[in-house]
């Protein structure tokens, strides 16, 4: 019994990492007024490149940073189109998601010569900080919790956070106060995408240890749902990420467990994270309010 509790807890904490990192990033981006639905693609591409960086350098940490770097580049692309060119916020995100499908589906056979899947060698994985017979805990779990808390503190307790929230609530007023709306929005977008990139690389070089074209498996969108669930609050996104992480871990676990598969078809359990996401989002809409200028391009009059 106690083993089951420990292994479930560790599993949920691990699965939480990409969801929380992406959600916290999305919170900052949307608090500044920029909607980005391209996180799914960012997770996927940074997982792919993160694995490559890790294998080239032999260091999982450089793999993680490399993933964050890819996220940063994609965030700059999104920020450039939405903030500086005043483009639609949704379409570039769709584009990045489609691009990721292509890059990874093309990249896996082109780079590793294998069809559809690449296994990251275990010596390129991050060394766990806690090892139990029922699972091991990655230091990235602590990093994720720290990032969520720190982001919360900056967002709600510092002048920087106040400015970020101001450009998302009322860009006209912020502009009148001399705040550079475009710069804050751009940097917030880049921050969000960088965190997602870190989360993506975590999936390939630490948690799942594999690269496939379905690796992100909707987690970018579950993270967006978690952001709504949190009411655009990083600490609540941490809590929500743990709940979603539990179901995420459950579905990953069931898929590799023949005992359970004999009782219930694994496909049904696999739908759970998505079903839970839908139910939670449908249940809390109307109770939370997004930032006022969220998703609206700001043009100086």
């Amino acid at each position: 019994m106690i083993e089951a509790v420990i292994s479930t807890l560790i599993g949920a904490l691990t699965a939480m990492v990409p969801l929380v990192l992406t959600s916290v990033g999305a919170v900052v981006s949307e608090r500044a007024g920029v909607v980005n639905i391209g996180y799914e693609g960012i997770l996927l591409m940074s997982a792919f490149f993160g694995a490559i960086f890790a294998e080239i350098t032999g260091s999982p940490w450089i793999g993680l940073l490399g993933g964050a770097f890819i996220g940063m580049l994609l965030g700059m692309l999104h920020g450039f189109i939405t903030v500086y060119l005043k483009g639609d916020h949704v379409i570039p995100g769709i584009g990045v998601n489609l691009l990721a499908l292509g890059v990874v589906a093309f990249g896996i056979p082109a780079y590793w010569g294998t069809a559809g899947q690449h296994q990251v060698p275990t010596n390129f994985r991050v060394t766990p900080i806690i090892n139990t017979p029922y699972g091991s805990l990655s230091p990235m779990v602590l990093v994720t919790i720290a990032i969520a808390i720190l982001t919360h503190w900056v967002l709600f307790r510092t002048p920087l956070g106040l400015r970020i929230r101001a450009v998302g609530e009322n860009p006209e007023a912020a502009d009148a106060l001399g705040i550079n709306v475009e710069r804050y929005r751009f940097l917030a977008t880049v921050y969000g995408a960088t965190l997602a990139g870190l989360g993506g690389a975590f999936m390939s070089v630490d948690w799942l240890g594999t690269v496939t074209k379905q690796l992100s498996a909707g987690r970018g969108f579950i993270a967006l749902a978690n952001m709504v669930f949190s009411g655009w609050n990083p600490l609540r996104a941490l809590l929500g990420g743990f709940i979603f992480g539990f179901f995420d871990n459950l579905s990953v676990w069931v898929r590799t467990n023949p005992e359970v598969q004999r009782i219930i078809p694994w496909q049904f359990v696999a739908t759970l994270p998505y079903l839970v996401t839908l139910i939670i989002v449908a249940g809390i809409i109307g109770k939370v309010r997004p930032p006022k200028a969220d998703g609206k391009p700001y043009k100086r009059e």
Binding site: L98, L101, G102, F106, A217, I285
Partner: protein
């Protein structure tokens, strides 16, 4: 009738620029990956349009993605980002197989696709209307649920007892006649063109279409004009569901040789995602979608030739599609390019 040439020309040119950017960036990535971009593209376009057979393959590849593009396009015209085409295709295909095995004719198969499409798309429609759930999140979650549910049905409920690599097949009496012998092109292609023309008629020549477009253009103005935006949302999803349901149905009824769903749903996977790109490049206009659908069909049909002749993984075309869509998202691409050129 006054034709607004300037109004048509600009989006057309911008779509063409986006396509060129996609092809160029794809070429750069090819070169970096150690392939010859010229050899790859020559093989691709030669395979797609270099012969009658190539054209047949191009048009058959265009069939499902024109239909799934209509799903996204109808949504976009109503102000919705309906990304649920992907999951709907699976159920359209499954329903067509089931119904044609009960009654062996084409109409029953199409009806199956339509009913399945309406039923599955009703979920995000009602979640949106009743609970205000953002359709981007709901349709993506439903796509993943559809994937696993459909996989269960394909593996457990309708496997082919004689061939473990596919499901039971559509009976011969319910298959679309082949247009060109030896190719995959059947009269199913006509279904997608007719669907696009009907969509055009509905959107621009009926009261319902007017209401859909007005609520997409400006919800507040629509409400002021006595239009119920909730009605528009529901109709938009249901019409979209019909299109993707048909995509699945025509795929199993009109695409030789299998007339079934193959292992891992490989032959019905990805059309919903392709459709988004097709619709955006076609500027979410049904007539534009026919042409961009044929262009994307070209990429898909030529990809196989490219893989065989230039050894380039055929997934490369997905990457080109992605770049094209990102380029489409850049507002005023034409003006931007002019400014750069002038400097």
């Amino acid at each position: 009738m006054r034709v607004d040439i300037k109004g048509f020309a600009k989006p057309l040119v911008e779509s063409l620029i986006a396509i060129v950017i996609g092809i160029v960036v794809g070429g750069i990535i090819l070169a970096f990956s150690g392939y010859s971009p010229v050899k790859a593209y020559v093989a691709l376009f030669d395979g797609a349009v270099g012969s009658k057979y190539g054209w047949a393959m191009t048009l058959s590849a265009a069939t499902p993605i024109i239909l799934t593009a209509l799903t996204f396009g109808i949504g976009a015209r109503t102000g919705l980002f309906n990304i649920g085409g992907e999951g709907t295709v699976y159920f359209g295909a499954i329903a067509a197989i089931l119904l044609t095995n009960l009654w062996g004719n084409i109409l029953m198969g199409l009806l199956g696709g339509i009913i399945a499409g309406i039923a599955w798309m009703a979920i995000p429609a009602f979640l949106k209307v009743l609970r205000g759930v953002n359709e981007v999140v709901s349709t993506i979650m439903l796509n993943w649920m559809a994937y696993f549910i459909a996989l269960y049905i394909v593996l457990q409920k309708i496997p082919n007892p004689e061939d473990p690599n596919k499901t039971i097949a559509v009976p011969a009496s319910a298959r679309f006649p082949i247009i060109m012998k030896g190719s995959e092109l059947s009269w199913a292609f006509a279904i997608s063109v007719i669907a696009a023309l009907i969509t055009y008629y509905i959107l621009w020549h009926t009261e319902l279409g007017y209401e859909l477009r007005v609520s997409g253009y400006n919800e507040r103005a629509a409400r002021y004009g006595g239009i119920n935006p909730k009605k528009a949302v529901i109709w938009s999803f249901l019409l979209g569901g019909i299109m993707s349901g048909l995509a699945g149905a025509t795929e199993v009824m009109g695409r030789p040789p299998s007339y079934a769903i193959s292992q891992g749903m490989a032959n019905i996977y990805g059309y919903g995602f392709d459709g988004i790109g097709v619709s955006l490049v076609g500027r979410n206009h049904p007539l534009g979608i026919i042409f961009s659908g044929i262009f994307f069909g070209m990429l898909k049909a030529g990809a196989t030739a490219m893989q065989i002749e230039a050894g380039v993984p055929l997934e490369m075309v997905r990457m080109v599609q992605g770049v094209i869509v990102v380029a489409v998202a850049v507002p005023g691409l034409l003006d931007l390019l002019k400014r750069v050129v002038r400097k």
